[in-house]
Symmetry: C2
């Protein structure tokens, strides 16, 4: 029997996914409309159901893709082979750059994780998402070698993550409170690439 390759139009599927990404990232699952996703993709609403049988399936594709876009990158950055201080500088710079290219991702992911923890839990159990083990071990070694002061490695890790991510989640509050233009906000984020590691190293470095 000669196998017949199913010729699904890759462009249409890509267009749908890109459109769904745009809408879902901004408005979340419950705030998004299939009609809007279809319009935005330049296709018909029925087509969405042809490629992804339901709204939830389409959302799941976007959600999983978002997880894959962020978590492996965090692991990669944390497991890079370099000295502790250098890594803190490197991580802040690279991680903020990643978020600059995906400004809606933090609130999208964190929000949907809170709405439906199961969705994240499911994919988390399959492959451990964040592996900060090497980074944590590196901090412990720093303490033992008396390069940095004694502290809880997890607290340090959460502090670093907090300072990198928070401004993206609080974007509108910051912009309104400080009367920032978009350009000023961008500069503010940009400057944090250096401010955050400085702030951290000042705190933990043994003198």
């Amino acid at each position: 029997m000669i196998s017949k390759i199913k010729s699904i139009d890759i462009n249409t599927e890509q267009k749908i996914l890109e459109s769904a990404r745009n809408i879902f990232h901004k408005k979340g699952l419950s705030g998004s409309r299939m009609q809007e996703i279809a319009d935005n993709a330049g296709i018909n609403k029925a087509m969405l159901h042809y490629y992804y049988s339901s709204k939830d399936k389409l959302f799941d594709a976007v959600f999983q893709e978002a997880i894959k876009r962020i978590f492996p990158e965090i692991s990669k950055l944390l497991n890079e082979e370099m000295p502790l201080f250098e890594k803190i500088i490197y991580f802040s710079d690279k991680y903020i750059s990643l978020l600059q290219q995906n400004v809606f991702l933090p609130s999208f992911l964190l929000n949907e994780m809170n709405q439906n923890p199961q969705r994240f839990k499911k994919s988390f159990l399959k492959n451990k998402k964040i592996k900060p083990d090497i980074f944590i071990a590196q901090i412990k070694k720093g303490i033992n070698d008396k390069i940095i002061i004694p502290l809880d490695p997890m607290q340090l890790f959460i502090n670093m993550m907090s300072m990198c991510i928070f401004p993206f989640i609080a974007k509108n509050m910051i912009m309104i409170t400080y009367r920032f233009s978009q350009k000023q906000f961008d500069q503010f984020i940009e400057s944090r690439k250096k401010e955050i590691p400085e702030f951290i190293i000042n705190s933990i470095k043994k003198k």
Copy 2:
């Protein structure tokens, strides 16, 4: 003409607001249903429209109340009369305690501010919501008096806010990633009341 006092049942209105608060804080505007709010309040759906003409009006009441619950408190804490280091310790403790009593508030407020900046902007223009001026001035004085190292006061302020708020927004991610029970998570939050100010003061204190 004898004035007739309108006897609106204060209990019903309070019950509605409390129920709406519970649902809206957890699920947001688009994720919440008037039916669920009515059920949760133990009343009829039509009653919601009797007290608050529309879903959006009801949401607005909850949103404005949330703003009033958080922002004046932040201002109050920041404007307390005390030395800089003491204030950083005091703020972290009191602000985290406030969030512990309103665990859904951070994601609720930040998320809805991103969904509809106008709603926040409107109420912000009426009365300036956060007044970190005194705190900022205090930081500048600390730099001049060479008590702390030179730094951008706003960056410091955002760092402090980030570290206090972020764990509440990322609650489920943290719990799943670290396999925390509810109790372990609560202890983690509790310990940050001391960890955060220590971390900050270590960083900025001049030696």
